[in-house]
Amino acid sequence: MSELLTIAESVVERAVGDEQLEVYVSSGIDTEVQAYQGEVEKLTTATSAGIGIRVLVDSPQGARVGTAWAGSLDAEAIDEALREARDNVAFATEDEFIGFATPDGVAAASLTLVDEGVTTTSLDDKIALAIDLEKIVRTADARIRQVDSANYSDYVAQAAIASTMGIRATYERSGAYVSVEAIATDSSGDQTGWGLSAGRAPHELDIDKAAADAVRRATRMLGAIKPASMRGVAVFDPRTTATLLAIIGGALSGSAVVRGRSFFADRIGEKVAVEDFSLLDDPTDPRHFGASIFDGEGLACRRNVLIDHGRLQGFVYDTESARRAGTSSTGSAARGGIAGSPSASCRALQLAPGAFTQADILAQVGDGVFVESLTGVHSGVNPISGDFSVGITGLMIRDGQLAEPIREVTVASTLQRMLLDVTHVGNDVEWLPGVAAGQTLAVGDIALSGS
């Protein structure tokens, strides 16, 4: 790991004159196994490394930045990237708010995000996880006709950031996942269900749970019908709630807010959600898959309260958006790999647990729809206008119980209204891979479009 920091520092030391350099170096090892019909269908093993360089030059009206990246760490590639980044500087607009992160004295959380199980587990044992997973699903229920894919994957990733501003940060993380998609069939046709288990190493994975999830979801969708259009309560399961929270988190990014590209802009202090809705972004919570020690600019990650009992409390900022907003970074810079420049992003959202179990919520809702999957999130949600319309599959809720399965139906509202229409927050938090954990969440006055 210190090897990456050495490379980053060696590039930073090449700064000439009054230019500033920020260098991000990363490397990773990946394994991926796909099982099909009891055999390995695909096995991928790979190592990768890369570098992203930003060059900043002060000018009378502010500063300019140029960037470049390379998908390797050989000397020639690094030289070329540095040359290109320098060449790109001249074409950027001078901007008084542009600047690199400066060390802010916030101590990094002490987190262990790597489990050596990823590297010590043999390839044979990893392959066995995928093959066993497929077998469990295939034999779990006579109505399972096919297992479209049963996968195991893991990674160990390392990164280092160094800059002429004195930033020095290194971090390392590992992850292991199994996922499976089952196709169930009966006289009414086919339905699919997807199951997942995630951890930091293979020994944390629960393939029985992933299999049971996929089988239950696929089989209970059999005979699904398109319901009549209606307006009522939608109860989102933990997975779909996590997707909703991730969308809301996108609108809480300082980078979107300072550009006026969020329906939350200019609403600090306002009541934007119901009393029971408290949302925080806390990468220092090791239970969260988005946990991280440093952000994408090398500042310590920290706990940020975004919505407190329904009141909009704050946003997450990287250095640039914070300067534009007249505040300081919240340690929330994220970069999309070596090619991405930092921008503010939530990475470990959690909604404060409510008082209810899922069964309580269903009983109290009485009648409505239970949402198990969302489709078209990228095409049907606009985080600027707040328009929200997505396809769902799930089950009707009748008399407080899950009833017949439904498909080919959409739920629609606006994100602004949904936050104010929340009726119940569950206590059944599931730590899921991605930027948000999730729990059962009931939202009233949703339009359901069916036949």
Partner: protein
Amino acid sequence: MNTSELVERDVIERVLASALSRGGEFAEVFVEDRRTSSASLDQRRVEELSSGRDRGAGIRVVVGETTGFAHTADLSEQGLIDAAHAAATVARSGSSRTVTTSLGEHMSYVNQAEQPLGTVDKARKIEVLLRADDIARSTGGEITQVMVGLGESSRRILVANSDGVFRSDHQVRTRFNVQCVALGDTGMQTGYRPVAATRGFEILTDDAVAEAATGAARQAITKLAARPAPSGDLPVVLAGGSGGILFHEACGHGLEADAILKEASVYAGKAGQKVASDLVTLVDDGTVEGEWGYLAMDDEGRAAGRNVLIENGVLTDYMWDFLSARRQGRASSGNGRRQSYQHLPMVRMTNTYLLEGPDTPEDIIAQTPRGVYVAQLGGGQVNTATGDFVFGMTEAYLIEGGVITTPLRECNLIGNGPEVLQRVDAVASDFSMTPGTCGKDGQQVPVGTGQATMRLSSVTIGGTAA
């Protein structure tokens, strides 16, 4: 640099031999050297110019039904041999053997770009971005924000395999887009227009830039007057161009042979059967030069093809890559694509379009008493096993009494592929295409979709109004 020089012939032959030294029937080396450049203008600020370079090789070994794959950024002979050994771990029972492979004649495709990445001055690019901003703002005072993006790529690829294939290509792509935000009494609305082609910077003519800027601005302004979209089933008229995404989702993914062979598609076993209305003739065509999904050869070295998928409503064939075709003892249809050397190829669409029909757009609208007119579609998503799909409408209007009236707020449409294909009841002849990015199993590739103005007799609109 000549593409064949990415890696020397004799080095590749030794790497392939090494990949097969522990068993296996097929080995392939895919080498890629991709340069990219992007520029973004946000609120008249050039936020950044970024340049990137990615170079490496992906090696696969096929043993029975199993594929082993490894990739490396190290293009030295030792780096490639190490990756070959990693890919060959799937041939685990095989004892060591000596294999020789010899490649055929090298064949190289030439790109048609007049101004590929690296030939246009960076200052000239900034001028184009600023010009788009000027035009968008001059469209109306409601425009409060303009974002303009430019992305260029130059991708040299080389495919060599143990069947002797030895081919290279140089693919040049340019993508430009304008996004506007308009502010009105009802809040903010957005407008978006892309311009993209498998060509160089020359596609950004003054006219093309002006049209994108004006189009994005007008769309945002128009939507300020939008009211909530209806909820429930209505006839839907799709304007020519972006409506092609309907076929991409409703049946395109379901006609990819990997889904077919796993019986994970509603279209499995339906070849030769009527699956759509007579008006539907659907083609996947990688040979349309310059289009966003154009390929001289696919990422397995197979020349791109024009493949008729559905003819007058009858399913004629699926799309195939090397492995799925090999399992069926037939030839690939040139649909083996991969995002980069770090990914395995799989069956992907290229340019997928509906052939023109006998109607006119005016008649189709006039003959729709009440419905929705979709001027621009956004992305979509499909479950191939059930055929259920959604796609977003980013610019749409009500049709009342055969006339286009009120603009509608954004929402998704939802339907079932096999049912919706039967409901195509009018197709006009004003054909055009739209660029898009298709995601499958985490891999993104550029695709084109196209169609003329057409009507679906009924689709579910996912709005909120009664």
